[in-house]
């Protein structure tokens, strides 16, 4: 019985923590707010990809190795890792921004498909887990920069599609708002 009390006590503590988390003010734009900014999607870090690629080119490392400038090579490697980590962090910020937009679309929809939403949560959890692993692999020096470039290209494509969807939704929402405006209420009911 004492064990039950301890276990339930721990469960209650977890529940109260969950409650506190649920009551925290949500980050970013509130659901249903049409004041979202498509620019925030466009302002993705993928636009810095050419500079990052140049900075992380393998040829430089090989050249320094051949030239025997080991001290400089080490310094360059360290700097590159720092840049790669910052870039990975920025990609995560892009991912979160896009996800936030996806949530806004869901919030405005009158009906959600449970499967889609559950799948998105699962994908988000997986992304975060893999992000940590990618971060770790960069720390230990195993990250592939070419793959990071592929990841960036991918983010870019995703952003373009989502932007188009948001634009379409914005136009429809604006049209609906116009329809219910005081100047034109000639028997139109949206609800």
């Amino acid at each position: 019985m004492i064990l039950t009390l301890i276990l339930l006590g721990a469960l209650v503590a977890v529940l109260l923590l969950g409650l506190a988390r649920a009551f925290r003010s949500p980050k970013g734009p509130a659901a249903g707010s049409l004041a979202w900014s498509v620019e925030s999607v466009s302002r993705a870090h993928v636009e810095f990809l050419p500079q990052i690629r140049q900075a992380l080119a393998r040829q430089d490392d090989e050249f320094l190795s051949r030239a025997g400038a080991n001290l400089l090579r080490k310094r360059v490697k360290k700097e590159r890792r720092r840049v790669a980590l910052a870039y990975l962090k920025a990609l995560r910020a892009d991912f979160e921004g896009l996800l936030r937009m996806a949530k806004i679309i869901a919030a405005l929809s009158p009906k959600l498909r449970v499967g889609h939403e559950v799948e998105r949560v699962r994908l988000t959890v997986t992304f975060l887990w893999r992000y940590r692993l990618a971060q770790l692999s960069l720390y230990v020096g195993q990250g592939s920069l070419e793959k990071m470039a592929a990841l960036s290209n991918f983010m870019s494509g995703f952003s373009v599609r989502l932007e188009a969807g948001l634009k379409a939704m914005g136009e429809r929402a604006a049209l609906a708002a116009e329809m219910i405006s005081p100047s034109d209420r000639s028997g139109i009911h949206l609800t």
């Binding site: 209650v12 592939s144 793959k147």
Partner: protein, 267 residues
């Protein structure tokens, strides 16, 4: 009634007074129109307290019927509590029909599954059945409520502070009852003389605190539905985009998976 310690009797009095105050606040501020089931829940609690007082005093019914009467009236209260919680969540999610659809399903499934487990568990020992079922109900209720609120938070739906107080109060009280019933069980098994008084104390103190928080939160009229969320997506952009987003996210995950894995070969 006289068998109970003075402190417990005092707490009963304070609890009844707090419930009366809350009823008055709900009626005076007009909030009973927005949350009628919650108002019914508070009124039912008050009626239950009066009924049990009458039973203990011998004014109505026989004293032997006190326990069955208390527990059966408690079942009605529990149902009203669940309905009042659903009502509050419905008020918050009124402008978000899609999330509400997802929310009530989460609430129902989480509650149903956990409560069924609790019912099966309590069935093994008849003498403990009522206590364990009550604990199971509160546990299932708290888990389902937190799950639903986390879902609301996931979609960045802002919750007005008055509703936070209502839902937080329900959750906090349920957590307190879970611990109180377990502690009560421990004391009963140890044949502690103060078992009943302690159990009453641990159950009633959080309830009084919750009643006071509710009374403070409801002293102002409850806010209306969120502005800016009224315009819904009429043509189903969600249905077009959602699968694409998920597909992109899935592929993105694959890319990220390849990123952290060490390279096998290099051309």
């Amino acid at each position: 009634m006289s068998g109970l310690p003075a402190l417990v009797r005092w707490l009963w009095g304070i609890s009844t007074a707090a419930q009366t105050v809350l009823c008055v606040v709900l009626l005076a501020r007009g909030n009973f129109r927005k949350i009628p089931i919650f108002t019914a829940y508070v009124a039912a609690n008050l009626c239950q307290a009066i009924l049990i007082f009458m039973v203990y005093k011998g004014i109505a019914f026989r004293p032997q019927s006190a326990i069955p009467l208390a527990w059966s009236s408690q079942a009605c209260i529990q149902l009203l509590r669940a309905a009042a919680t659903t009502e509050a969540l419905r008020q918050i999610l009124k402008p978000f029909q899609g999330i509400w659809g997802l929310g009530w399903r989460t609430l129902a499934v989480a509650f149903g599954v956990i409560f069924l487990v609790a019912v099966f568990d309590s069935g093994r020992n008849i003498s403990w059945a009522v206590l364990l079922m009550d604990r199971g109900f509160h546990l299932a209720f708290a888990i389902a409520l937190v799950a639903c609120l986390l879902l609301v938070h996931y979609y960045s739906v802002p919750i007005p502070s008055a509703y936070k107080a209502l839902l937080g109060g329900f959750c906090f009280y349920s957590c307190a009852v879970v611990l109180a019933n377990t502690l009560g069980g421990v004391l009963f098994l140890r044949r502690d003389a103060n078992f009943q008084a302690l159990w009453q104390l641990v159950t009633m103190c959080p309830f009084i605190a919750v009643l006071l928080v509710w009374a403070v939160a409801l002293r102002k009229p409850l806010p209306d539905a969120l502005p800016g969320a009224q315009v819904q997506d009429p043509k189903g952009v969600y249905w077009e985009i959602s699968p694409q987003i998920n597909e992109r996210l899935r592929l993105l995950n694959e890319q990220l998976n390849r990123l952290w894995k060490p390279e096998v070969s290099r051309h």
